[in-house]
Subunit: 190 residues, 2 copies
């Protein structure tokens, strides 16, 4: 997606070979017009697949996933990274490690929002090692739903997530695939 790649080159900042800072338009300050186009790009790619629901993980996935769900006319479900005392009932949970942030969390969703037999589209801001996506896949399997595809805003193609997910037979559609980066240099796949 050309407009996204231009935003990455103009406003993104490679801190080192692993960390790409895009907090001026994607995950702290958000260019919602760009996110709307991101959502429409996902909706166009994943149309006609019988998808019934869009899911994402709080909080950086919410903006692109909201616009995707709107463009597809579907409900959105936000998987949580933390529970609260008002989040009760039949919960599905799995531990996810974030290598980028050096943290881990309990990925949580109420079972009632993953209806057995449904086909879902998972949207997230980043794909690196794929830990979050694989956490989502574990919960989807436990819930008895099919993951019809994964839409990623920015993929670190030099990390293992993409190939691991392809290996599971998942269709992964990334709008920008970063091949390599270093301070002041970002290169895309193709």
């Amino acid at each position: 997606m050309q407009m996204l790649k231009e935003a990455i080159l103009e406003k993104g900042k490679a801190i080192n070979q692993d960390v790409l800072l895009v907090d001026s338009f994607l995950n702290h300050q958000v260019d919602v017009k760009l996110m709307q186009q991101v959502g429409e790009a996902f909706a166009a790619y994943f149309k006609d697949r019988g998808i019934t629901r869009v899911i994402t993980i709080e909080s950086s996935g919410i903006a692109p996933a909201s616009f995707t769900a709107l463009a597809m006319g579907l409900p959105l479900v936000i998987m949580k990274k933390q529970t609260s005392r008002i989040m009760t009932g039949d919960l599905l949970q799995t531990t996810v490690r974030s290598f980028t942030k050096g943290t881990s969390y309990e990925l949580t969703i109420k079972r009632e929002f993953l209806v057995p037999g449904e086909k879902v589209l998972f949207i997230d801001d980043f794909l690196a090692s794929g830990e979050a996506a694989f956490g989502m896949l574990r919960l989807a399997k436990e819930a008895g739903i099919e993951v019809a595809g994964i839409g990623i805003v920015i993929e670190k193609a030099f990390q293992a997530g993409h190939d691991r997910l392809i290996g599971e037979g998942i269709d992964v559609y990334s709008l920008a695939r970063v091949k390599s980066m270093s301070e002041n240099h970002i290169e895309f796949v193709d």
Copy 2:
């Protein structure tokens, strides 16, 4: 906002006199079509005030704030409840207690995204005691920006937040004001 009140009555659930569960359309599963209309309602009310930026707090405020920012043609800034090792630089922080959830967090924003002299609109899903909104006000004051208004999806009008904010001279616009509730009963103001 009639459509929102109907959603609250049909799909919301008062757990007790204080906790209103709206996780089937607002903060876990999200009705994005409704959120788009919520965003348009805020945009209509707060137009022509010279607002330059929409801000919210992760994560339940993001969907309604995204659609508000899009309808107003403005950038969105998401204030964080937790930092990570990739979030560095000049940070503004203040401690916020959530009485509903029984937790507290460090409300955090990079100073560069609150530009002195700007006028911002703060959007959030709930207003109860106003702790989050007052945390935002403290950071806005520290940054030297003006808060031109606060848009709330659901206000617990029986709690003190609304009056405390009005007392600070802030224009608070809530799309649904809950006067009282108990198990199986929700009553709105007016």
